[in-house]
Amino acid sequence: MERKDNQSPRGHIAGILVEFLEVAITSVVFLKGIYSPGAFERRRYMNVVVQRARHPQLRDYIHSAVSGLLPFIEKGLVERVAVIFFNTDNIPVERFMFKLTVNQSFDSKVEESDLEFSLRSFLIKLSVSQPLTKVLPCDCRWEITAYFRSLPQVRNSKDTELWISTDTKQWQQPPLITPIKSMNSEPLGVQLFLEHPSPSEPKS
């Protein structure tokens, strides 16, 4: 989780963002109670109590998924990162959508404390947003999906390989959203909202 020093401001921001996503996604997974609470342990991040996955595989999945995003976030390609929960038919039931906006041309030094303050509010809000979410059916599945602004050119480097294009089922109707938290602290804007299928969505 440690950040690399002597980066460009943009890389620095991306680093913070990725780190934050890792924590936030873990929090989401914890929140939804997919795994038993014993699979998590309390940790302190940005001076608030957060959950951290104890199971190496779970931890690894989240970690590698978001850190695989790093080069794309740096380039500003990633538009949203979603944590999607599916039912047994692989139809999404609930999506946690992180909408990212990184000001690509921001070049001055990042006020890390401001950023931290804003990001912290996410973690706090997330921990109390359980009532907004739906109860998941049992045997559900979840995954992390990223929405890109454009498909990245396929390169042979290792980091791009981690992410593959997905054919995840989408809702046919535009979803209903419930905003959870928005923040905009130059150069980074993050919005988190819940997406649920619209009532008119054909049930399969």
């Binding site: 001076n47 500003g76 041309s105 209903l176 928005s182 919005q191 909202f193 819940l194």
Partner: protein, 1145 residues
Amino acid sequence: MSLDSSRSANSGPQNSKRSFNSNSSNNKDNSSNSKKRKSNQKTLGMAWGANSLSTSRSSFRSSPFSDFGSYMVEKNRKLQNQFDAEASNSSLSDTSTKPIFRGVSIFVDGFTVPSSQELRRYMLNYGGRFENYFSRHRVTHIICSNLPDSKIKNIRSFSGGLPVVKPTWVLDSVAVNRLLSWVPYQLDQLASNQPTLSTFFTSKISPASEGVFADAICEVKHGTEDLCLKDASKDAKFSEAGEPSEWRKKITEEHDELMHGNTNSKVIEEPSSSYSEASQEVKVVERSNLEQDDESRENNRPQYCPEQPSASVSSHCFDNHSVKGSPHSTALGPLKQCHSTLGDPNFVENYFKNSRLHFIGTWRNRYRKRFPSLPNGFKCMNSHSDVSADTQKTAIIHIDMDCFFVSVVIRSHPELHDKPVAVCHSDNPKGTAEISSANYPARDYGIRAGMFVRDAKALCTHLVILPYNFEAYEEVADQFYNILHKYCNRVQAVSCDEAFLDVTDLEGEDPKLLASAIRKEIFEATGCTASAGIAVNMLMARLATRTAKPNGQCYISPERVDEYLDQLPLKALPGIGHVLEEKLKNRNVRTCGQLRMISKGSLQKDFGFKTGEMLWNYSRGVDNRLVGTIQESKSVGAEVNWGVRFRDLQDTQHFLLDLCKEVSLRLQGCGVQGRTFTLKIKKRRKDAGEPAKYMGCGDCENLSHSTTVPLATDDVEVLQRITKQLFGFFHVDVKDIRGVGLQVSRLESVDTSKQVLERNSLKSWLMSASASSEERCDVSSIAKDRVGTDTEGKSMGGNSGVLCTDPVGNSVLRTNNTSNGDGCSNQILSIPQLCHLDMGVVESLPSELQSELNEMYGGKLVDLIAKSKGQGENSTGSLCFHPPELSKEEAERSHNSDPISLSRTAVEMMGKQHILEELQTVPDSGTGSNSNAISIQALDNNDLMPSSLSQVDTSVLQQLPEELRADLFESLPAHRRQEISTLGPNRDNLHHPLCINQPESTDSGLTNNLWIGNPPLWVDKFKVSNLLMLRFFADMYYKSKSAENLSSILQCTIAESLHPLDAKCDAWNEAVHSFNELLMEYIKLKIVVDIEEIYVCFRLLRRLSTKSEFFLEVYNLVFPHLQDLCFGKLNTFLALEFSILTSLH
């Protein structure tokens, strides 16, 4: 939870007991305590165990702990051991830290910045303790940033009487590397809650303040407060129940004593009261007419010294004296009012007006301004210096006015010439004012500069004391230097009355004759005498003057140097002060002759390289310094160490502001700006009593902090900000401050940074926009770009100005324009340019221009493109410029022309394009008659201020600092502000043709104008509206705390119950419409960046709609649009459970 458990363990019978035995309970040994707790905790532990998830009864029993209490004891012990182990590790690894927190044991409650872990680390490193679980016996300080109301209300049961302190206490203590008093760091919530002694006193006693004793009482209050504070910091048990009453008793005792003293010496009450004011607040005393008052205060001094209230007992013995002094004081009583600091906010100013040192200090700048070209003449000295080293031809004259400060003053009083005269602020015979200069007859009595007046008067009862006359000094100094410069062009000014002349070049003249000629002329011109010393170097010349004085001259030939120096006491040498003299005296060296016995190496070893060399040289009469220019001053500053007494932080801040003003003036006077700022504070030593000198600084510690800023400045506000910040580093009790100085160094000549000077107001900033290269604000660089790259931008300027003009507006605009100057119009024009930027044009610009442009916009360009793309979010990567919705015609044209000429044509084209747009939209808004005027104006290409805010890209506006924004709005004609929303062209509409359903709202500008400004335009608009509802809502804007957000305003609206507009009337529709407009603009503003805010707003609206028909209608109207927009922008719908509400519930 942990806190709760241990706290509730303490509650119950023990709790009530605690308040009575304040100290003893602490000293109780732990065993008895833990026993007591065990009995208490049995039930508690069980309750907890039942709740806990994994602890079953059986496992609990099988564990080595009999109950929860013993478990906690064990746990705490382990935690302590861990901490100790870590602490010993960290202290081993880092020996530089000193254990400042020894004896301090903190408990961190809740969320803090820095985190509790960081605080723990500090405790580890600096010898403190950190408790994970609260215990009244182990914890000494509770650290928290914020407390819930319940804890505040019941603070005693929460804290157990322990101090509750903000985490900055720890940080600051670490920063200054000593344990600071926690008192100033007490949690704000508490500090304001707790009745302080001062309120107790003021409420009880100050009703009597009309009475004679009031001020004296006030003073006691201060004294006691001081004591209390001190005591409180020492003894954390201050707030224990028993203590205050004790204190009160003491105070009243003291008070009684004082009252007693007062009745005995009733007559002095007046002055003493004025003293008590003075002691707490900075006070200027205009010496010329206040000496007596001043003196009697001094007499009272020991009695009312606020630091030692107990001293008041001694007032009896002063009785006679004070009664004696009383006639003065009563006579002058009324005077004090106007001179007391309470009445004189200009202390600093007056202080410096009356300061001799200030005069001397600032004289230099004056001098430099008068003879600015001279320095250059000296440059050739280098070639000369080689010669001067070995020849005896060099001749230096040192010329010094005889007792300058006196003789200037008495030149108009010939009768005083042979009388002892001294110059001093005050001629109060008992005063402690220092004599600054005394004439020779006075010196014969042993009167010296720096002596207290009372001592001087004791030596010479008929000593005449005169006040300063700064104008005269200035005049004489100017004459003096005029004469010197007339005779010789190599003058080194030492002071206003002292200079060196290098007359070597004046071959033909005998330096001795020259010197006497100069002296003669000085006397004729000024009526004051001067003495001169002539020798081969500056040192000897100066020493010669010493012999020559008064009113004489002395030549020391090179042969006589040794002889002269032989018996010269060391102190006469320049550069040898008390300390050095003392050191040398210890080595039995008293004269230069003796000093010469010591080898150079030995001197350098003992006194340092430079000083050693200097001693060696000087004792041989060697001085290699050249008569040169005045040195460039390395720093500019101001320091006040007389009369500095503060009562509270506010006084201090006020004083600092004045000091900053003074320093700023001095900087401006010298024409420099500085980057490094040093704040010096003289802090009364703990054991130091009141200084002998009235209002002096006494025995002080000198503290200083400094900081460097990147951009040199002489701006008062910046200085003030920096000073405030620096002052924050000190952590001294303001009552202990005896002197404050602010010094600015790393000076830069103002010429280089002149343009940046007045950057705060938009107008001045506009003027310099083209010139200043380092403006940080994006907009200014845009302006520069505007001026720099396309000077023919006038056509564009005309166009943008045109966009919403009516005949009336024009005249206003023009006057505005002329008053603001050209730069202004350019500037304002340049802001709209961002939103007007035609991507087609940008794209076809030469590549270097393009990149420059992008740079200037600081990336805003990219934002703009992204915005103008509207829904095109999902398309491609964002770093290339794409034309938004250009008219085909224009795009074609710009593509056809060659890149360079194109930029011009394209700009023009763009301008025309806008006119077209404008002409199309204006008639829509029903002011068709304007269009004529508009087109005419356009053809004329008048340089109009673009008054339409619709030209302004809102994103840019939002990025602008608030004051800039305000300036911008101010520069718009007043009636514009309201027109904008109705008249402005629909730029947004062009890009987002989404809200077609509502013809009215689309027509009258969804231009996001309503939310621009501070307060936003809609507030003004609603305020003047004749609709009650809207006016009400505008009021809400001011009531809500964070009015930036609509949600907070709505929240406020909900809080205020209302049904005012629910009766349908004519205005109903209009109100609904206006409100809709407001909402729509807000949605557009926020939907991309802050959907949460929109969501909150609509939930609030829904709540409102259950109360009010008005909001119901608004909600129903806007909601579909919101969903439309959501769908358009985000491809989602907002989940608000029932979308259209039909009726009131």
